[in-house]
């Protein structure tokens, strides 16, 4: 049944689907022998997870192997030996491509630097690995890797490595290393035959090279051989031995380490499917440990789908149903009953339009991060309450009062197909999913409970201040929203810091640009009550494929003003365009009480034209071109792996006409982000997510205003494409 496995992902049109249905039914009998009942962990191939190195990427102890983690694996590792602490994130970007981000702290690296008391050297590094050849029955896997190719280059090295799985749980690895991996018993670079320039590796250039790729030193200088063996002794325990080609010359010279042997030994132990411990004897003299936590987007850490089941479909004839309401009062009673039933499932009724044979409802989905689940649950409630002659259900989903999709279902099909073995396929083929016929505000609209109120904990953090790698403040946040009618939202937030180490830095911005972001710490240092935002927002649909937003007020902690956005997202198109204009003034750092003198005089106008492209296979690209806060012009490219269940891992980079030197540390703005939906983490319905953005210290080039509720992510969550793609959840 491979056909149905991919049915909900396919973008083929519904008529084609319908024609294919008959063929599908034939193909399903008998099932191809490949279909097996595997646990999610087996489906994702987690049993074949390779061991991770000290640096958090697949390998032996300190040396890389050619193996790849299962697609989508996301590992968080921390390791320590001899005063060197490495914290890393490794992401299997695609089946043959992985990337790591690492933060390394060298204790006592600057033993004489007492001026600010910081003797630790912190180093960020970024690696990429590509598997050139996958492993075959005889052929080993072959992988090329670049370590720290875009940072200070302190760890920079390249390698070509081959690995082979032998019988009895044994793997062998051998590789050729350059740079740091070519420092022990190095020999003349074999590429010198091609070009003499490969013989020497340019040293680190004086000055601040952070954030710039060191392409001119790749694969240059002496090369050396490394290798190793792993043996999976038990399902949980793997023993490791390697010959390392990294002699830690720099650390030895600085007295951080003593000279050692090239032999490293270790053991890797799977405590749980996600938690992995490593213990190592290194260089004949040091002891090291590693802790890794690995998740896979296709395998939720807990059971997925816990929580109340959906209401059973009520079949006409088998159960009593309300009669068609003859009076306005009866109509109102029916509506409020429906409202109450839907509310129990986290669905808010925004509009209700009942005719003799059809009903149209507009629904705000507050609980389910898959659109089809909200549609399915709404349909079930309609079967339980709508008078028997009502045969057609039109279910519109809305976001911030904007209708984003309409799903038309025949009630008799729902009744007939509920427990059909092909229920999902039959409902998918019969449903008509498209844009809503009526794109205007719900009319007549049902008064939402106008005042929304939310209290939560908050945690603001910024990474990589040279004095303190993690600056944070945490406390209590209150969010209040008032919505007099769908689409018009007045809201504000309050934050009361309770714990903070924001005063641990006295860094003063050395930026030569207007200080639009580099003084951002100032906004978080006060421990008094603050007002991060207070806005009035209006959402509207100017046309059947367009969405609009206007927001005004205190847009974010550092900016106030007005923001307007238009999004053009045709149904069924992978490409969407947007335009956004912001006229803002910078807010003065301060507290709630300082509002009166709140903004600086200079007004800035920024704006972007954006293109969004939704690739098949879970990729999303966004390109924004325009003017940034410091008056610089340029573009931001964001690329992310977007799993159907909402897990998102991506990276962004902004290049503007600000020179790398003017930008300062990091050369240009960039970062990586990870978003894990609450539903993925807990297994229970939720539209929330835990977000982690890792970026260097904020500078002034390529900076933008953070406006809440930009349109594209809102629409993408619940438009026709989203409903189609999530149809597997229609019955949940």
């Amino acid at each position: 049944m491979l056909q149905s496995r991919h049915a909900f992902r396919s973008r083929v049109s519904r008529p084609v689907m319908r024609r294919a249905a008959a063929a599908l039914a034939l193909l399903c009998w008998p099932l191809p022998p490949t279909a097996t009942a595997q646990s999610l962990a087996e489906l994702a191939g987690l049993a074949n997870r390779p061991t991770l190195t000290f640096s958090g990427s697949p390998g032996i102890v300190d040396m890389p192997s050619a193996f790849m983690s299962p697609d989508g694996d996301l590992s968080f590792s921390a390791s320590y030996f001899a005063g060197i602490t490495r914290t890393s994130i490794n992401f299997q970007i695609a089946p043959r491509l992985s990337g790591s981000f690492r933060y390394t702290a060298f204790d006592n690296y600057f033993p004489n630097r007492d001026s600010n008391g910081v003797t630790t050297y912190y180093d960020r590094s970024f690696d990429l690995r590509y598997q050139i050849l996958t492993e075959g029955r005889i052929r080993p896997a072959l992988t090329v890797g670049l370590i720290d190719f875009a940072g200070t280059g302190r760890l920079s090295s390249e390698y070509l490595v081959a690995s082979k799985t032998l019988g009895a749980g044994v793997t062998v690895t051998g590789g050729l290393g350059f740079g740091r991996l070519g420092t022990r018993n190095g020999f003349e670079n074999p590429l010198t035959g091609l070009d003499d320039r490969f013989a020497t590796r340019p040293g680190n250039v004086a000055g601040d090279r952070t954030g710039r790729a060191n392409f001119n030193s790749l694969f240059r200088g002496d090369a050396a051989l490394f290798g190793g063996v792993t043996w999976q002794a038990t399902p949980k325990l793997t023993l490791l031995a390697e010959y390392s080609s990294d002699d830690y010359a720099d650390e030895v010279r600085r007295g951080l380490l003593d000279d050692g042997t090239p032999y490293n030994f270790g053991a890797s132990y799977k405590v749980t499917p996600t938690l992995d411990l490593g213990a190592y004897a290194l260089r004949g003299q040091d002891f090291g440990v590693r802790l890794s936590y690995t998740i896979n987007p296709a395998v939720p850490p807990r059971d997925n789908g816990i929580g109340p089941g959906p209401a059973p479909i009520r079949v006409r004839g088998a159960a009593a149903l309300p009669a068609f309401p003859q009076t306005p009062d009866a109509g109102a009673a029916l509506q409020s009953q429906l409202q109450a039933d839907l509310a129990a499932d986290g669905l808010v009724l925004e509009a209700f339009d009942l005719t003799a044979t059809a009903v149209r409802v507009r629904i705000r989905n507050t609980d389910y991060n898959r659109a089809a689940q909200a549609v399915g649950r709404t349909a079930r409630h309609l079967t339980r309450l709508m008078p028997a002659p009502v045969e057609t259900f039109v279910i519109e989903l809305s976001e911030r009062g904007l209708p984003t999709s309409a799903t038309t279902l025949r009630r008799s099909l729902l009744e007939a197909a509920e427990f059909d073995p092909f229920a999902l396929e039959r409902t998918y083929q019969a449903a008509r999913v498209g844009g809503p016929a009526d794109i205007g505000p719900a009319s007549p609209f049902i008064q939402p409970s106008p005042l929304g109120f939310d209290i939560s904990g908050y945690f603001n953090r910024s990474f990589f201040d040279p004095r303190k790698p993690l600056l944070f403040d945490a406390g209590v946040a209150v969010d209040v929203a008032y919505e007099p009618r769908p689409g018009i939202i007045a809201s504000f937030g309050l934050q009361q810091p309770l714990v903070s180490n924001r005063d641990a830095t006295d860094r003063v911005s050395n930026s030569v640009l207007p200080k639009v972001r580099s003084e951002t710490d100032n906004y978080y240092q006060s421990k008094d009550l603050r007002l991060p935002y207070a806005t009035l927002a209006y959402y509207f649909r100017p046309g059947s494929t367009t969405y609009g937003r206007v927001t005004a007020g205190l847009l974010e902690q550092a900016y106030a003003g007005a923001s307007a956005e238009l999004l053009w997202k045709p149904d069924g198109s992978r490409l969407a365009y947007g335009v956004e204009v912001n006229a803002v003034r910078q807010r003065q750092p301060g507290t709630l009480a300082d509002l009166g003198t709140g903004v600086y005089d200079t007004q800035t106008v920024t704006g972007h034209v954006s293109a969004y492209y939704d690739f098949s296979g879970d990729w999303l690209a966004q390109l924004d071109v325009g003017r940034y806060l410091a008056g610089d012009n340029g573009a931001t490219l964001t690329l992310s792996r977007d799993f159907d269940n909402g897990v998102q891992v991506g990276a962004f980079a902004t290049l503007t006409d600000t020179s790398f030197d003017d930008f300062g540390e990091g050369a240009f703005d960039k970062g990586i982000f990870i978003s894990l939906p609450t539903s993925y983490l807990t297994g229970r319905p939720s539209r929330g997510a835990r977000n982690l953005v890792i970026r260097p210290v904020l500078r002034d080039g390529g900076a933008r205003v953070f406006v809440r509720d930009r349109l594209y992510p809102l629409v993408r969550d619940s438009d026709a494409q989203a409903v189609n793609d999530s149809w597997g959840r229609f019955l949940r």
Binding site: P33, A35, D303, P308, D420, P421, A423, E425, S726, R729
Partner: protein
């Protein structure tokens, strides 16, 4: 159910706070028995609550379902019917949809739920009294990204023996039939059915759902 018995129940469960009292009573009044274990994951196993007094008061169909992986039992009450399938809910609103004969065709809220099942072959074999035969069974589950994964099993039906089983509501004369299933990759499971000789439907059964959920034991305490 009266308020007194509700309190009695709650005392047995050891729930002392007013909050729990209120929640428990509301749930119980609307859904006898099913509500009791629904107070949360730490609520007690339904088997400890099924005293003869309690059982005597319930005169509607209900099931006792034990999740083998956790050895935890809840009771399910009948909520809706799309003939021939009935849908049952426990106090957590976990639901099981079960054919009239007694085969599970859908679960909701257990985790990696059974989305749809093709059990027509098994059902026919059971109706024929469990004569030894091979049937085809299909389970459809979702993968981690909500795509459908269908698996077909070849299942061996085998009549075992007439067996008397004792449930909290009495002793029943049944006939035990076993179903041993394996898919193409050799993943296998075994279901057991105790067919009630009086009613012809399943009095007790052990039915496998998915690798993550495992096997459920169902006992029909009251028809």
């Amino acid at each position: 159910m009266t308020m007194t018995s509700c309190k009695d129940l709650l005392r047995r469960v050891g729930l002392v706070t007013l909050l729990a009292l209120a929640a428990g009573c509301t749930a119980i009044q609307s859904n006898p028995l099913a509500g009791v274990p629904g107070l949360g994951p730490r609520a007690v196993d339904a088997r400890t609550l099924l005293t003869p007094q309690i059982l005597a008061q319930v005169n509607r169909p209900y099931l006792l379902v034990i999740r083998d992986k956790t050895d935890f039992a809840t009771t399910f009450a009948f909520e809706g019917e799309n003939p021939p399938v009935r849908t049952w809910f426990d106090g957590n609103r976990t639901s099981l949809s079960i054919s009239r004969l007694g085969l599970i065709v859908r679960t909701a809220g257990l985790g990696r739920d059974l989305m749809t099942a093709d059990v027509a072959g098994t059902e026919a074999a059971l109706r024929r009294g469990g004569e030894a035969t091979t049937v085809r069974r299909v389970h459809r589950l979702l993968d981690g990204n909500d795509n459908v994964v269908a698996t077909a099993y070849a299942c061996q039906i085998e009549p075992i023996d007439p067996t008397a089983i004792t449930l909290p509501t009495g002793t029943f004369q049944t006939f035990l039939i076993e179903e041993s299933c394996a898919d193409a990759a050799g993943h296998s499971f075994q279901n057991s059915y105790w067919v009630d000789l009086k009613t012809g439907s399943l009095r007790q059964s052990r039915q496998w759902i998915s690798p993550e959920v495992g096997t459920l034991t169902l006992q029909v305490l009251h028809d």
